[in-house]
Subunit: 351 residues, 2 copies
DNA sequence: CGGAGCAGCGTGAGCGCTCACAAGCATTGG
DNA sequence: CCAATGCTTGTGAGCGCTCACGCTGCTCCG
């Protein structure tokens, strides 16, 4: 025997009711003894609703276990309630860097407080980029948080055309579209660290700089130069090809080659510094005795290196907060401007 | 018939065009010279559509720049096209562990291939958990990927009541709801490592086990015991309180206290091992000369420790693939069973 | 004391899509 | 040569919500 209460695959019409779909606004209205419109108003801030009606609606909400149908709402409001967190870097980045994790986590939290959700999207390949664009154009997301943008990234320009609100995390390339951005003060942070290194009496200070095609790295290098002036010769600068441990090791190895007498090194990110420490150890240089090492980010890995890494703290929670704030403003149609947040030196044992 | 120049009281048509909303399916249909229905069919697999109509629709799609309105579609299909990636652990976890990053990345990619997106949701606090439940009940997500579940996590049971498809990553608690899960073979991996340690002639082998309230950790401990038998006394086991560097350091410190003569240690995760290495260094024990250290996960940090960490590889890309596969099956209404994937030993210098 | 103004509420008209249905047409077999 | 069959297509009816509008009944001022 077939249990006729079981949802039959074909008979949509009638069985639909039988199928457990949640209560609708109409159901809530009936229970509360008001109309759909009043329930809707109550749900959206409660303006122009009498206290009694409001209370009745809230009771009904609870007793029916009503959950709003976001699709129906989005259909008319044209707001999806979601934000894309777009990683335009090579996918490996997410794989390693704790900074990204921290950022995502805080953004997710703050977005949730505002009733929005975070959609993770990768944009490393052309197809992935096309998908992001598609989402933006189709209104599947209300805004985009663009993370780790390289110079010449085609996504930024294309995103600009969709007219979807975009905020960039970190300083964006100078020649891309002028999106508002939120960044730590990379240049000043680099100055802080370089000054610290010089202040410890080191004479031959080198740097492992970030990838050439990322604006944040350029800022950090500039800060380094600000302090060292002409002493910041080519010889003491090695560019990493990416923000990874391996790239840090490679760059440090090159540096030891071009500048064997270095006695301090400012490394443009903690992850790079992990690699740099490896290279130094491999070369038999003691840290901090022979060589002082300073990182950047104060990511979760910094206290765990050998020796613990002296670094420059990016106020990541604040970066996330401002990112969400700026994007929220933009989504609400209000203009918003870029923000640069102060950094601070965190002293540990490596320098 | 209808005089379209006549000012119809509610003539939205004209105003709509003025508002620059994207083209709708109706627009595409008009351009293609077919009906809405045909466009819809063409978009959804193209069954029962003539080749000519299909071609016309595709041209029209391109020329109009049409993007489907996901809300409208979801409203009727009751499919959101999104999956929640729920982190039920303390938020810090995401902050640190590269394993999670790798998992998220691969899941995002694979989900995208299937036309779905990944929503990151935290579930550390009661409010956050409520939000996840709300999403599940409201159909805002088609399914849930539940990561790092503790024993007694209330979310799992509540999620079960919503009848939303759920897949657990890692072995779930034994007494929770019986969701399908995808996990690495923790027990066998632990055996592999323990045998390796014993095979190198070490006599006093200890272990830093995972938190007591997580099933995966229990499995790893069991594998350790399988090999060591009665030698796996209480004295050689220290439980970490979480999968973090700090917890690893603490546990290792305790271990050195209760079992000063240990000459090898199996640490239940790479992140814990980073902490353990610190503690050993601090205690003046050389690795691997005095103490062999074996980790678990083969996360991005493993090759970067000092010395590079010998560990057990979890096939993370496969875990992610199976996770997505199982969830897809479940969402399609097909039953799916749990999967346990093989692990392998990765030899580096620490053991 | 009458009407303007307004808060509170209900109603109708969609938002853009999918799905069932029926109609149209070509193909095939009896 | 017509009925039966199957493929292709168009159409109507919503999915559950918001929003503009209009109605009611009250307050308040001229």
């Amino acid at each position: 025997m077939v249990d006729d209460t079981a949802p039959h695959p074909k008979s949509r019409g009638a069985a639909r009711r039988a199928q457990r779909r949640g209560p609708t606004m109409e159901d809530v209205a009936e229970v509360a003894g008001v109309s759909r419109g009043t329930v809707s108003r109550a749900l959206n801030g409660g303006a122009h609703v009498s206290p009694e009606a409001l209370a009745a609606v809230h009771d009904a909400l609870r007793s029916t276990g009503y959950v709003i149908n976001q699709s129906a709402r989005s259909l008319v409001t044209r707001r999806s309630g979601a934000v894309a967190f777009v990683l335009s870097d090579a996918p490996d980045r997410l794989f390693e860097d704790p900074v990204l994790g921290a950022l995502m986590r805080t953004c997710t939290q703050l977005l949730a407080e505002r009733g929005s959700s975070l959609m993770l999207m990768l944009a490393g390949t052309p197809q992935e980029r096309e998908r992001v664009l598609h989402f933006a154009r189709g209104g599947h997301v209300d805004g985009v948080l663009l993370v780790s943008v390289h110079d010449g990234d085609p996504l930024a320009a294309q995103l600009h055309e969709t007219r979807v609100p975009v905020v960039v995390c970190g300083r964006p390339p100078s020649r891309g579209p002028a999106f508002p951005y939120v960044a730590a003060d990379d240049r000043d942070g680099a100055r802080l660290m370089t000054r610290h290194l010089a202040g410890r009496g080191r004479r031959r200070i080198a740097t492992v700089a970030g990838p050439r095609d990322m604006a944040g790295g350029a800022e950090r290098l500039q800060g380094f130069r600000d302090v060292l002036g002409r002493r910041a010769s080519r010889r003491v600068i090695a560019h990493a090809t990416a923000y990874t441990i391996d790239a840090g090791r490679d760059a440090m190895t090159r540096l030891l080659d071009t500048c064997p007498d270095l006695d301090a090194v400012f490394v443009a990110s903690d992850l790079l510094a992990v690699g740099a420490l490896q290279a130094l150890r491999h070369a038999g240089r003691a840290v901090p005795a022979d060589v002082l090492v300073g990182g950047f980010d104060d990511s979760a890995i910094a206290p765990a290196t050998t020796p613990p890494l002296t670094t420059v703290r990016q106020p990541l929670p604040r970066v996330a907060a401002e990112l969400v704030e700026v994007l929220t403003q933009l989504i609400a149609g209000r203009p918003a401007s870029s923000r640069v947040l102060p950094t601070e030196l965190v002293l540990r044992e490596s320098a």
